[in-house]
């Protein structure tokens, strides 16, 4: 085998929630038998944005906040790849917030995992969009990106895990990857992933989370119902975990690609069969 880069030891602080996400991803990708060369990781900038360095894959370290547009470009150009976006809450909800809402709307075949620690870890602990009111002088209420996802027509998979609950996290990771693999488009998984150094929320989250997967009668197929339940739980100060919403809608790539051709990345550009079409385009200017 050709030697390629060797995944390194994570640079995360001991106890960082991101370890749990890495663990779940490695296990899930193996379980689904995704060959390493078909995995394409698109990572944000932040502590969380180094995850791609710790497993075997094609890894890309995006610009801050640009995970989703980049991942969408990858998927459209080569839909055979298993495209996984990973990043932090600052990356995905602050500077990347606009892309998040448009990606829900667009529904590309990408699994997107946000390691939400309610702070900007790598820049040393400033408030992020999911920081609670009062944290570092934050005057705003914390965003619930799952509710945001529910509000966007086109969103098809919304889930939340907690790195302190590894078994459920693995199941959700598997479900997310499967949703996308089944051609259903964007699977969005937020993982509560404490930053032990700047915002150690293990205690709050241990007691605050609420497992909706085990709630009787909860229907993840009902958008408005999910929204209502989320609102209730939020008012009770609880953080719902589990598969919160799953819908059906064709993935973007199935709508955007011409099925008569190989995908953009896989075309032979020197195929002589192209000449006739080029000639036709040329003729269109002579008419």
């Amino acid at each position: 085998m050709t030697e390629t880069f060797t995944p390194t030891r994570p640079i995360w602080c001991a106890g960082c929630g991101d370890f749990g996400v890495l663990e779940a991803l490695i296990t899930a990708l193996d379980e689904l038998q995704i060959p390493v060369h078909d995995r394409m990781f698109i990572a944000g900038i932040g502590c969380s944005g180094s995850l791609q360095n710790y497993l075997s894959c094609y890894g890309y370290h995006a610009l801050h906040g640009r995970v989703l547009p980049t991942a969408t470009g990858v998927k459209l150009a080569n839909p055979q790849l298993t495209v996984v976006g990973v990043g932090g809450d600052g990356d995905g909800y602050a500077i990347g917030g606009g892309h998040l809402m448009h990606s829900f709307k667009r529904n590309p075949g990408v699994t997107y995992i946000v390691m939400n620690n309610g702070t900007y870890g790598l820049t040393k602990g400033q408030a992020s969009p999911t920081s609670v009111t009062g944290f570092q002088g934050n005057t705003e209420e914390d965003l619930d990106p799952i509710m945001l996802g529910l509000s966007i027509p086109g969103s098809t998979f919304l889930a939340r895990g907690y790195s302190g609950h590894p078994a459920q996290l693995l199941q959700l990771t598997l479900a997310a990857l499967r949703h996308t693999a089944a051609g259903q488009g964007l699977s969005y998984l937020e993982v509560l992933s404490p930053c032990v150094t700047y915002n150690d929320t293990y205690r709050e989250w241990r007691t605050g989370v609420f497992n909706i997967d085990s709630e009787d009668g909860y229907d993840p197929g009902n958008r408005a119902g999910a929204f209502e339940r989320m609102s209730e739980l939020r008012e009770q100060g609880r953080l719902p975990l589990g598969l919160i919403y799953q819908g059906e809608r064709p993935a973007l790539e199935s709508l955007a690609l011409n099925p008569e051709f190989a995908a953009p990345a896989r075309q032979d550009l020197n195929d002589p069969g192209l000449a006739a079409g080029y000639r036709e385009a040329m003729q269109s200017f002579i008419r």
Binding site: T4, Y60, H61, L81, A265, Y278
Partner: protein
């Protein structure tokens, strides 16, 4: 009478009215008819950043030989609005013909039309409203009159109408053909019978010409170069590129996306490029500003991308529909930090095609951003050009690895150091080619690294591309008399004007030469050399600070030899005005020397 008619050699025609009046349509139809009868055409638009209203104008030059600019004088003007005539009057002379919409009355005394000019009033609007209950048909009516006047055949006009309006459905076609017929009747009434136009139309060339804008030529070049992913966000004057590709690219299995903003555009394009797909984006100044972080990422992470900048008047939102070449600095110096890039500058639609192909090849061969600098004039003006031989295009993909070639390698490093600064690329999905790609400084494997020794080598590796690419970069095209004491330097839409000014000067016994840059960056020695070798070089550019001239000086150009000609009022330069400037400046130089 037809035997004694002069041949149509060179005629500039303006149609002007309110926005929405359809002046552009008239001109575009005439251009198409001229093309179809073997003449040359060149068009220009003067529009506003609003959808209806305001005074707009479209200009056409009908020539026997190729001219890539509008003439300095206007031979024929058609106006639907009296404001328009005042605006254009200074371009008229005593041989000009003025056709105005007389629905609202006669031409006022202070219209500014020069004495001697032939003035014809026709109530286009009145006829349009009477016949079709809509004012908008006045443009179709008027084109009939203009066609007659310059000697175009009624049938050819009809054919062009069928082509243009046929796409819009049977009803639109019918009304417009009827309007054309009305126009022909009106022409008869004012004494312009069929086959009794002013000129005889003689085909310039047996082979058919293309009628194409620079934007279209770029888009077409991209497809033929194997481009398969395009992302854009609407912005004047670049949007046509996206629109042409939306129609054509999917026919070749390509993808065009219009995401939520230019940040998404450039990063989506980066994503596609990462997979080894030939990718392009197009924008104008404001979008280019927003893309700066992405541009730097391309440089650092060594990702190939073609970025088209169709320049308009800046700064900021500026004058969105007006031409400028004032993004040169941003193209050459934009993005924070040091990284290599290429900036190419075509001057004709044909060059737009070939330079786009070249840009695609260079981007992949050297794994970096390649810019194509257009301007509103080059982007949007229609021109007849000799057919492009699209079959000759060669797709060069640079150092690419597949599973087989990887299997033979002991180790694969995405950023392996190499003599030419370029490392082989294995597209994601290739077994054995796993890599890390990052905008952080990194080692050969793409692992983040701040090791000073590695940093130094990586920076030098990237920068060394600027050397290794030298032979591959398009050289300036030279025109005129190599020994002439007066030189020109220009890019983009200055091209046609400079060529015409040279002809005028030559006719007056003043020989000149012209160095038409094709590569703005890296600045090749040839350009500073040119300014050192020629004692008086007019650097003609559409901006207020002489960005191109300054760039040349920064790289060894001879400032004392340079005369900057700067246009930044949004109005395209005319050859005669350039000639005047040259003569004045030469005079004042002689005075100073004396």
């Amino acid at each position: 009478m037809s035997g004694s008619k002069p041949r149509l050699e060179d005629l500039s025609i303006i149609v002007s009215g309110q926005g929405g009046d359809g002046s552009l349509t008239v001109i575009n139809i005439l251009a198409d008819v001229l093309r179809s009868v073997g003449m040359r055409a060149y068009t220009e638009r003067d529009v506003l950043s609003r959808i209806k209203g305001g005074i707009v104008a479209a200009t056409l030059r009908a020539c026997h030989d190729e001219r890539l600019c509008i003439g300095s004088q206007i031979d024929l003007i058609v106006v639907f609005d009296l404001f328009a005539i005042r605006k254009q009057a200074h371009r008229l002379n005593d041989r000009s013909i003025v056709i105005y919409d007389s629905s609202g009355g006669g031409l006022p005394d202070d219209s500014g039309v020069p004495e001697g000019a032939r003035v014809i009033g026709i109530p286009f609007s009145r006829h349009a409203v009477r016949m079709f209950r809509s004012d908008i048909y006045k443009n179709s009516i008027s084109s009939a009159v203009v066609g007659r006047l310059i000697g175009l055949n009624d049938d050819d006009m009809r054919a062009a109408f069928e082509k243009r309006f046929g796409r819009r459905g049977a009803e639109a076609l019918k009304y417009n053909l009827d309007a054309l017929a009305v126009g022909h009747e009106l022409a008869d009434e004012v004494g312009l019978a069929a086959d009794e136009g002013l000129y005889e139309i003689v085909s310039a060339d047996s082979k058919p010409h293309m009628l194409i804008t620079g934007n279209e030529a770029v888009a077409f070049g991209f497809v033929v170069a194997g481009g398969r992913f395009f992302a854009g966000y609407p912005i004047t004057p670049s949007t046509d590129i996206m629109e042409w590709l939306q129609k054509w690219l999917p026919r070749f299995g390509g993808v065009v996306r219009q995401p939520e903003d230019e940040l998404s555009v450039i990063n989506m394009a980066i994503g596609a490029a990462l997979t080894g797909t030939r990718t392009m984006v197009a924008t104008s100044g404001p979008g280019l500003s927003l893309m700066q972080e992405g541009i730097g990422q391309l440089g650092m992470a060594e990702i190939p991308l073609v970025v088209v900048d169709s320049q308009r008047s800046g700064p900021s939102t500026g004058m969105p529909t007006k031409p400028e070449q004032s993004d040169i600095n941003l193209l050459v110096y934009g993005g924070h930090g040091d990284f290599p890039r290429i900036v190419l500058a075509p001057g004709t639609p044909q060059e737009c095609f070939h330079i786009t192909v070249k840009a695609c090849n260079l981007a992949e061969k050297y794994q970096l951003p390649v810019f194509i600098a257009l301007d509103q004039g080059l982007s949007q003006n229609l021109a007849t050009i000799d057919p492009i031989d699209e079959g000759q295009v060669v797709v060069e993909r640079g150092k690419r690895l597949d599973a087989e070639s990887l299997a033979g390698m002991a180790v694969y490093k995405r950023y392996a150091f190499s003599k030419d600064g370029v490392s082989a690329f294995a597209p994601p999905g290739t077994p054995g080619g796993m890599s890390l790609v990052t905008g952080n400084e990194h080692d050969e494997f793409g692992q983040v690294s701040t090791d000073p020794g590695n940093r130094t080598r990586m920076m030098q590796k990237r920068q060394s591309k600027l050397q290794s690419m030298q032979a591959d970069l398009p050289r300036a095209v030279t025109h005129g008399v190599e020994t002439a004491d007066i030189g020109f330097v220009g890019i983009g839409m200055t091209h046609g004007v400079i060529l015409e000014a040279m002809d005028i000067l030559a006719a007056r016994g003043v020989p000149t030469q012209y160095h038409q840059l094709q590569t703005l960056w890296p600045m090749l020695d040839e350009t500073p050399d040119f300014t050192r070798g020629c004692p008086c070089v007019f650097v003609v550019e559409y901006n207020a600070t002489g960005q191109l001239a300054r760039l040349i000086v920064a790289h060894g150009g001879e400032e004392a030899h340079i005369e900057s000609v700067l246009i930044y009022d949004g109005v395209p330069l005319r050859a005669e005005d350039l000639v005047q400037k040259v003569i004045e400046r030469m005079d004042s130089r002689r005075h100073k020397a004396a």
